[in-house]
Structure formats: C-alpha cells, structure tokens
Amino acid sequence: MPLEFLQSLSEMQIVGELTVLSLLVGGLIMAVGLVVAKIVKILFYKYYAPTLPKDTAQNLSKIIYFGIIIISFLAFTSSQGIDLSGLLVAGGIFAVVIGFATQSVVSNLISGVFLMLEKPAKHGDTIQIPDMNISGTLLDIGTFSSKIRKFDGTIIRIPNEKFFTTNIRSLTSSAVRRADVTVGISYKDDIEHAISVIKEEIQISMPFVLCVPEPEFRVEELGDSSVNIQVLVWHPRDDWSQAQPILLTTIKRALDKSGIEIPFPQRVIWGAKD
C-alpha cells in the first residue's frame, strides 16, 4: 500500500521531470539539513565555544551553520536535477541590476567582513561612538549589522558600513581608566591645604581609586570667582561607576569638612563718588 502511494506520487509530475515525490525528498533533505545545522550549532556552543574567544566562537558558529545549509541546498538542487549553471547565467544577467539594488546590503556585508578581520573591538567590550553619541557594550558584529547594548538597557543596531567608517572609542582596552572633575575654591583658601584634604578623603572613601598612579591635582584656571583645580584619578576599567559619579561628592565632602569655600559666581561693584 505505501509503495503504491509512493509510486503514484512519483508519477504526479509538476513541471518537466519534477514530481511530487522528488519534491518531497528534496524538502526532506532541506529539513534534515536545517536540523543537523541547528544540532551542530548547539553542540559547538556547548563543547567548543567556551574555549574560544566570544567573537571567534560566534563567527565560527555562523560559518558552520550556513555552511551546512548551503550543502543541504546543493544536495536538494541536485536531487531535483536542477542545473545551477543556467541559474548562474541568469544571475549574470541580473547581477548588475541586483548590484545597484543591493548596494548598501553588499556594502554592509563587506564592512562586516572587514570588521571581523580588523576587530576594532571585541564582544563584551565597552565602547563609545562619539559621532553617534552612543556608549554601551558591544554585543555582536554580525553579517550586516552590529549590536550595542546601551547603558540604559536598550539595544541599538548599527549597519556595519556606518560602524566601520565611524570613530570607535574602546573603554576597556587597557586595565585602568581615568576620571576627572574640576572644582573651584575661593581665593582666600590655601590651595595646598585644599589639595591635601581632597587627597586624604579620596584615599579614605574611594577604595577603587588607584594609589599608583596617585591622584593628580592641577590648578587649571584662576577664574572669575574661584581658583579651579582639576582632580584626576585612575581606577580599574570596570569600576567607572565607583569613581567618576562620586568623585565630586567626595571632594565637596572633604572641602565642607575643612571649611574650605566653594564660591558661587560673584561680582564686586565699586560705586564711584561724585
């Protein structure tokens, strides 16, 4: 009975030599190919990916996955007796048209390849793209686009062409980073004393600030209302949140404790006598 059913399917022609049975076999090949590609991808992630750098693992998994699908597709076409050389000729005719139509797609694809080769940043790096005012963690450099998780938790997709041609500032390429703020003290206060109390407070209450190189103090400007001191401290690269956002608070606390004035803008007006 099943044999007779298959026989009937093989006799049902769709186009030319293409029968319902051969189409079913082709579909089965593609389905098996997809399942195998998925399984191989999962096994790769489970057993081999942990030993590789994250970006290399992702790129390799994509190559393996799409490689198996392409092989399945070739097996499918040959099982259907489809001659791909004709398709190539047709492709040649439309190549110019498609080329114009998919200019940006191809540009993104090639940029993606260059990004994978050049590796301006790795997966998981904290980066900043000043031109686009984007900062966050690089999640993926994909075939056509790259994804960045911004610090507000949202994910932004950037076409590879733009990502490749823009300036990328890596915030995690070295072991340490520097935080800096500027604070003004009044003209009547002693600069050396102010620096000494700020330094002491930083040492006591900011455990992530490095002792070597030690905090640096520069008298930046003799301003209209205050003597402006720039404070520069180094911290481990992943602990920006433990340095930059609390540095001013720490400095203000130190100055308040010592009675050093942080002056507000003021203007002295002299009245002329008749």
Partner: protein, 249 residues
Amino acid sequence: MSKSESVFSPFGIYEVKDTLCLSLPNTEIKIERMGDNAFSYFRKDSEGNIVEKMIPSKSNELELEMAPIKPLNHPAKRTENIFLKFDKEIYLSENSAASIFVHCPIEIGFFLIHDSKRDPLDWVTCNPINSRFGLYGTPDTGTLCKYAEVSLATDFDDSIPYVEGVMKIIIENTLNVGHTVSKVVFPIVNNSLYYEDSKTIIDGIKVIMKKRAMVSIADIKINSLETNWTKSPTWETSTTNTNMEMGID
C-alpha cells in the same frame, strides 16, 4: 599575644551548636541556629556593611573555619597580582643576595566544613583603608595589582594579627651592577597562607635579577614554606602560573 588581641577570636575551626559569636577588629560575626537543619549568618564589618545569609545544614551541627586568605577580594576581585612597595629601599650590590621579611596584607575567610571539604562562605578585611589597587607599568600596557605599602618585619613571628602576615623574600642580584629594590610585583594567587592563633605567615618568593639578551629582568618564583602552622584553605581557584617576570626600574 597582647591583652587587646586576646579579646578577638583566634583563627581555627569552630563548631556551632546553637550560637557562635566571633570577634575581629571592628568586625563582628554571629552564627545562630534557626531550626533543626538551618543556621543564620550575620556579619557587620568595619565599613558598616551588613551581610546576612541563611545556611541550610545536613547535620545538626555546623563546622566553620576562620582562616587568613590572600588580600585579593576587597573592595572587589579584580586581579591576582600584588604590588608590595617597601617603606625602605634595599640596595643590592653586584652578585649579591639578601633575605628579608616583609609584612603582607591579608583578609580573613570563613569556610564551611563538610565531608572534610572547605566551602567559602564569606570574607572580611580588618584594614579596609589600606586595601587599595595600584598599577604596575603604564596605563596602556600596565598590570592592575592589589597595592600595599609594607614595612620590613623582623621574623615570621612579627605578624600583625588579623591585618598583616609575614612573608620571606629572597632577592638575588646576578647582574654586574648594583640595584636598588623598592617594590616587588607578583601573582600571589599560588602562595599558601598558614596560621597559628591570630598570626599568619605566607609562602615566600625568590626574586632573581638577571640579564636576558640585552634586557634586565627580575624572575620571581614561589618558595614554599615548611612549617607546622595550619595551612589556610584556598579561597581562589589556583592557576598553573607559578612564576612571573617583571622589568627592573
């Protein structure tokens, strides 16, 4: 042990039946039974941080070991290297060697004991002000380290309870010029710690200053101690790297 030290709990193994209170400088630990097979853990440290945990237990009793651990956890685990800056520089003339004892900061770990295994439960530092980071090298290529300014110790018995252990450092200058040594930087993760009462000693290191090609380097290797003091459990997973090379500057 001085009178002030004696009020603090010594390192060692403690059995908890109902309540256990451990006292450390500016730190208090309390473990209490909550039920038949559960205990509560409370810690208040010198910075005012409070940590509370619940510990389910298979048996009716709880065994806990308090022991010194490497100073790598406070304020956060970021590195396995330590940068010891000597308070006095050591001058070594050509082809000479020196053996010194230095104080090295420690932290204190609490381990749960079951089936003769030690599981890390918690850690504290009794000297948070001096638990800081430092960079060895330049900002672009340097190595992040835990940083401590250390003084020379007289011998292994000179440990400062709960705060600093003693480490022996052998420095050998095989170069044909004299050198002043003001610091050592090395991965401390493979150095073992040993304790007795409230004192700590640490596996030493041997620093050999030598020439490789045209560059002067300091080759650092661990010198394991042979002692009858109790060996501390390991908090970190040790790595296979047992030596380090640093430049001489």
